[in-house]
Symmetry: C2
Subunit: 310 residues, 2 copies
DNA sequence: CTGAAAGCGCTAACAG
DNA sequence: CTGTTAGCGCTTTCAG
């Protein structure tokens, strides 16, 4: 039976068929635990996200799930709840995992070290972690920012452009802020850090819009929620968008196209991030000693209602 | 070692400690497969959703994950992609699952039957499936609708109230439509079915708002996205909300409070749905022969900017 | 090509 | 209280 199922070694065709029939008649299903015990392999992959909340992460998960399924694997998600605990990695379940993809968006010494030392194949998402056999999936934030700023600068002066990011500790926000400074030559006052929320975007924009001098004519937001907050502040204060203020969001989640006017945004291919990390993992399973690889995913600029029409 | 780890049967305190020390020194971790092979138990629970997309399902997942973790379990999510395939249940991974929670929102004979026949403990979410040992988690749509309609009728005539639902085949939409008809005495024209999307909500509202006679003064939407579409249509047509048109969404996802004005909505406790299903599953694992249970979760009405201020 | 048998690492039952 | 042992169901030699 084992030889038929794993179609290994030579089995006579008619024997094989006889076995197959018996399998079906009896409804036989191999015991996964016995299999795992002897082969030390499994078809379960771990995906560790900072949070399983909202449009962004659920899109990563969806991409990962789809990719995994197409290759006969399954994905076990877990959020580390920003706790740095990485419950999944220390729980007994870790022993069932064939590999893990870890998304690291904030400094987390514990997680980073654990990811590097794990005897399991590891893919790190978002953070350029060192490690012998640690593959990486990165998003090209810099070119995304450059493209967005370029679009803004077609109609606006660079010194009236602002960046409203998420938490300063967030790696993506850091990257995006740095790229923004490179692209616009912005000094400190025009780059602000806060939260990845509508509320924070609203307040920050309100503050900016109130000031007479140095009022922004263009804002690049750290994510779509911040951009939405900026849009709402403008609307509340009677500032015309995109006439007096242009806004570009980041991520291009479904929210960006749900609101009116629709948000222009730098599209981050979240599903592709999920997919690439699973693919990398499965490929490493196949060749454990291959050199570490890095996949960099490009963004794309989606111009919609909050930027000047060409 | 086994006895110490499972703190079963009497072990001398000092022996236990000696074993513990050795475990730590050696970094010993029990092999999950060997354990599973003999105990036929696992700490892995399956969660089958129609889709892993968006605010709604990611919230269910979050509730489930939190609950599972607090009880030492893990959740393996999978979407059936509306395909009725239930890949998770037929794949080899099914053998690692201690139980499954299945969310059924549309007719799916295959899934329903499979859920009822599975030898695994099963919890069915959203659909009242029959089955010996099948527990259920339901949302009390009817009382949610009644409450929303009640609020609308404080200032509006019942015959100017409309219900714009999702697909007619969706169980929740069916429930909500039926409850709406009960509460308002609405005939067919005032209950419409479409898609759970902003676009459909927009178009349907546009059509309704254009007609001179029988123009709605209040709309109950099948979910928040539809409600948002209705709001945008009103704004686009210069219809004042809530002055000329009041809108109540359903689910109360984060989207409802992200937009301006904020959507009034019937809050569906999505995280609680996830949590309750995991809890039911774990409790059944403990007592396999207990009678089937049904948990009904209440909704709550969140009155915000799209309904008349009191 | 096929039958037989040796474990994989663990738990639980059984002696001591 | 602790040592020993019989499997759990599978894959993979090793003989035939």
């Amino acid at each position: 039976v084992s030889r038929v199922l794993n179609n290994s070694s030579r089995v006579a065709p008619d024997t094989a068929e006889r076995v197959q029939r018996a399998i079906e008649e009896l409804g036989y299903r191999p015991n996964v635990f016995a299999q795992g015990l002897i082969t030390r392999k499994s078809r379960l992959l771990g995906l560790l996200l900072p949070d399983i909340h909202g449009e962004f992460y659920s899109e990563v998960l969806r991409g990962a799930d789809t990719a995994a399924r197409s290759m006969g694997y399954h994905v076990l998600v877990s959020s580390d709840g920003h706790s740095g605990e990485a419950a999944m990695l220390s729980s007994n379940i870790a022993g069932m995992l064939a590999g893990v993809a870890v998304m690291i968006t904030e400094p987390n010494a514990y997680l980073i070290r654990q990811a590097g030392e794990l005897e399991l194949p590891v893919v790190v998402i978002d953070k350029d972690v060192q490690g012998e056999r640690v593959d990486r999936v990165l998003v090209d934030n810099r070119s995304g920012v450059a493209e967005a700023v370029g679009a803004l600068m077609r109609t606006l002066r660079p010194d009236a452009l602002f960046f409203l990011g998420g938490p300063e500790s967030n790696f993506d926000t850091q990257d995006r802020a740095a790229a923004f400074i490179d692209a616009t030559g912005a000094g400190d006052g025009r780059v602000q850090f806060g939260q990845y929320t509508v509320e924070w975007g609203f307040k920050a924009a309100q503050r900016l819009l109130k000031s007479r001098a140095g009022r922004p004519t263009g804002v690049l937001a750290g994510n779509d929620e911040i951009a939405l907050g900026v849009l709402q502040a403008a609307q509340a204060m009677g500032v015309d968008v995109p006439g007096q203020l242009q806004i570009v969001g980041f991520d291009d989640t479904r929210i960006a196209s749900m609101v009116r006017p629709q948000l222009s945004a730098v599209r981050v291919p979240m599903a592709d991030v999920g997919e690439a990390s699973i693919r990398l993992l499965v490929e490493r399973l196949a060749s454990p000693d291959a050199p570490a690889r890095t996949v960099v995913l490009r963004t794309a600029l989606a111009l919609r209602g909050t930027t000047a029409k060409e």
